[in-house]
Amino acid sequence: MTFWNDPINFIRQWLETLLVGWGVAPGVAQVILLVAGAAILGVLGLVWVIFLIWYERKIIGRLQDRLGPNRVGPFGLFQPFADMFKIFTKEYITPEGADRVPYNLAPVLAVAGTLMVWGVIPFASRIFGADLAVAVLFVVAAGSIGELGIIFAGWGSNNKYALLGAFRSVAQLISYEIPMVVTLLIPVMLSGSMSLQTIVQSQSIWFVLLAPIPALIFLITQIAEVGRAPFDLIEAESEIVAGFNIEYSGLKFGMFYVAEFLHAFTTAILFAVLFLGGWRGPFAEQIPFLGFVYLWIKTFLIYFLTVVIRGTVPRFRIDQMMDINWKLLTPLSLTMVLVTAVVHSLVRPLGSPLVTLAALLVANALMGLITMQLMRASTRSRRRPMVAPSTIIVARPETERQQSTLE
């Protein structure tokens, strides 16, 4: 193992020998290194957001026919630093009548819920925080802690818009958790494990090819979980001002901001790990750092896609948001789990990955066609809106004039 192949583990081993050389007991040295690793991972995650904010503002700018930040530093790269230092110096304003404990706990929980996921993500074949046997469930648990943060913010602020935002967040995040958890079952089923590392290792064929429809459902639910356009009803500026974070100022607001960007990026990593083969790629086993690069490329593809969706699709109405979840995504994801389970267990004894791929692709295509037909039928049978523009009111001036002249 050399430094360039596997820098993280190289440094870790060097530090461990150093600590043991200083006379620290090996067990204690392990604990110190784990704590240090967690701290470094968390700090790197938070610092990474600085770059993400620049990247996303730049893309959104281009989508809206603007240049985006371009004043501070080359290509405006230092703009987020300027914003960051500005937000550090701002005043904290606690609204009157706020419930202080949840009010101050909320930004922490929002960031923690996202950062916890980073602990179980396999960044490369030998670079990961912890290879939990229940990592997929852990991701769901961390997500619910983030939701708790939003609810606390809405409750603690003593503001009706914040409370409305929190109600919407409960309605949206918890509803979209159902298809998300159900589609999470499919990579677990295909790989036979809940450990993210094993899921990555068993993707000799990417799961996005074995399960395209569940992958799409997962992507949609993840965008909804982040609460971004087109699912930004939680903080719909034109309806409830800013939703749950309206009463926050200074760094406390900054934490929500950071949590949103970090969450968006984390969902992209999760998609890459679960469906795009994670760090897998040529020579990734021999040179772990290369695996990290592959994962980052795949993640940025997905992240770019979500940013483009954010920049182009308008916000859903709340009834549309509920319809999509309960009438489309939830039944479809449940059916997909059944179909995938049956097809996969029928085909697996043949032992040929190509047959598995073909069978699952056909099953997915069939389910997609059936869904499209059902959706088309339901659109056709839907009642016309009461206030559709009609021609009844418009008198026909020409004919009237003709009639009057005839008389």
Binding site: G27, V28, V31, D99, V101, P102, L105, L132, A133, V134, L137, F138, V140, A141, G143, S144, I145, E147, L148, I151, F152, G154, W155, L163, A166, F167, V170, I174, G192, M194
Partner: protein, 170 residues
Amino acid sequence: MTIVQVFFLLVAAVTLFAGVMAVSTRRIMHAALWLILTLFGVAVSFAILESAFFAVVQVVVYIGAIAILLVFAIMLTRQVMVDTGPQLNRGWWIPALLVAGLYAALVGVLSTWSSFQALPAALPAEASDLGRFGLALVDANAYVIPFEVASVLLLGALVGSIFVATDRKG
């Protein structure tokens, strides 16, 4: 004392303190917050016992579902609901005595157990195998009946809640 023991004592103290606060705080929202901390402490205890599955399920089910439901129900009332009355009545010492006696009796009984002071043994590798756990839930010789009964109970609750919530005309 090993590091694990120190950690366990800390977690146990926090869990018990949060549990007491959950029933003694005056604001109902704060009671819910303390309850969440208690449940989290239980999850950490599971993690100390090397049962990652139950630790995570504890967070998903109790914090992710039940605690959010509780908080949501409190939010719907939009009341701070500060309880101003006295929290103890005159007979408080009777249950206190009973509980103290029960605690002493339990500790007394448990201390006669041979492995009362034993350190937890290292678990075998297959103990964290979730496949065995899943198979046990559908094995006729193991837990299939409790598992199915729980499923039927949940289904009944689901049907009942839909029945209660349905807006019937007339």
